[in-house]
Symmetry: C2
Subunit: 80 residues, 2 copies
Amino acid sequence: MKARVHVTLKNGVLDPQGKAVHHALQGLGFAGVEDVRQGKFIEIELEGTDVEKARSDVKEMCEKLLANTVIENYDIDIVA
Amino acid sequence: MKARVHVTLKNGVLDPQGKAVHHALQGLGFAGVEDVRQGKFIEIELEGTDVEKARSDVKEMCEKLLANTVIENYDIDIVA
């Protein structure tokens, strides 16, 4: 079973990486870009077939390691 | 209009960041994790309402800046 996790900065938290990408895109001539935010995308391959257990395990992984919940949100998708 | 871009390492390309996360998860006692791959997730806010133009612009952004197409794949979702 596979979990797909998105970790993104909360609204209002400054995103220097996104700002750098935005600036670089403007430098390349992409004028229609209004904002860029960059986050992390983590794919986790899990043993077992229990979707609910997988979801609760991955939630714990996010809380303990993958996300800094003071400044980041996370979003979990479990795929077969 | 918003574009959501996933940039992931191609299969077979070594992923030291994913390996580090995998190792850290094992150290925290998560035994059921078989593999971890880490990629980037980029949200781009775009002017205009033309979905096809947005898709082709973002494809060009990926080719020129966001992804290293020698070792990375990218995937584009345009959301309203």
